[in-house]
């Protein structure tokens, strides 16, 4: 069984062709979030008709009603990598039995209060792609490399932070 249906390949191929032929005005795509503070550290975001809830844990003055903003950030990195990996796997004819991306990011809490002149930006992010497949390791490496280059969140954060990549195929570490 593969996690991505074979009939998606022509759909992604068609998307690729459409984007390649699009005019400059059509190329630029916009993402928007409207985020309203509900109380103290709890906010709700409206994104394309969906409501997303955020909070801080009780230990840092929240009420624990949802994940934190930085939880959502690293989540967005993992989600984006998986979406693009599935598309590129589909185009390359790579079957996927399982796909999981583990993202860890580090930043300095002193930056939250401008202590010692520290900045709160993410200093490093590690992305570990874990794939199970019956296909060749070389094909997985090719798709993983393409994915890193073609993922919008990855391409963005690569301009801001140190990046570390790991690839695990069928439980074995593979050099990228």
């Amino acid at each position: 069984m593969t996690l991505v249906s074979p009939e998606l390949a022509p759909k992604f191929e068609s998307m690729k062709q459409r984007f390649a032929q699009a005019s400059r005005a059509e190329d630029l795509i916009s993402n928007k979030a409207e985020v309203r503070l509900i109380r103290d550290q709890n906010s709700e975001a409206r994104v394309r008709g969906f409501t997303v809830v955020q909070d801080e844990p009780e230990s840092v003055s929240g009420t624990g009603k949802g994940p934190t903003p930085t939880d959502y950030f690293v989540t967005s990195v993992g989600f984006c990598e998986n979406v693009i990996f599935a598309r590129n796997a589909s185009l390359a004819g790579l079957s996927i039995d399982s796909l999981e991306t583990v993202v860890t990011g580090s930043w300095d809490r002193r930056g939250l209060f401008e202590i010692d002149g520290a900045s709160p930006h993410f200093q490093s992010i590690t992305v570990e792609t874990r794939v199970s497949t019956k296909d060749s390791v070389e094909k997985v490496v090719e798709v993983a490399r393409q994915t890193h280059r073609r993922c919008p969140v990855h391409a963005t954060r690569s301009r801001a932070t140190e990046l570390i990549f790991r690839l695990v195929v069928n439980g074995q570490n593979v050099p990228l």
Binding site: A20, I29, S30, N31, R36, P69, G111
Partner: protein, 177 residues
Amino acid sequence: MELVSPSFKSIVEDLRAKVASTKDPNQTISTVRADAKLLGQQYQEVKIKDFVIVCDEPVSSGGTDKGPTPLDFFAASIGFCENVMFARNAALHGLEFTSLETSVRGHWDRKGQYQADGKSPYFIDMTVETKVTSNAPVDKIVEVTRVAHKTCPMHATIVKAMKVTDKLLVNGKEVSL
């Protein structure tokens, strides 16, 4: 109902004191983690603590539209972070406000998804619009907004990666930052 509890200021002051009193810089490094699992096509989940975050793509992009997209979460994470830091700094500065909404909008080139014409898919720009309703002096709101931007981990990260435009609206009117 007040947006910020009366006890909030002392909680934030305690938080600041705790971080400031930590002598070992390694102890102030915070690490966050997400394990994103593909469940089928473009549908996936992340489990963080007791929360399950679901993500999907629209039908037009090969998904089933059961949740926000990765980029929706990316934009939302910036707005969430800004609100958290605005509320903390407002409490520290004694700024009272009756509503706070942060609107985040960014652009990127979808040709980059397929490396067409050698394009990269990174976000080219991002506009962060802070909308506050308050009877406090505008100068105080400007000060809190500036500090919120500087102390927000997401804002501090995106300014390193793209052009970021910050806007501030106080009681519906745009104010220079």
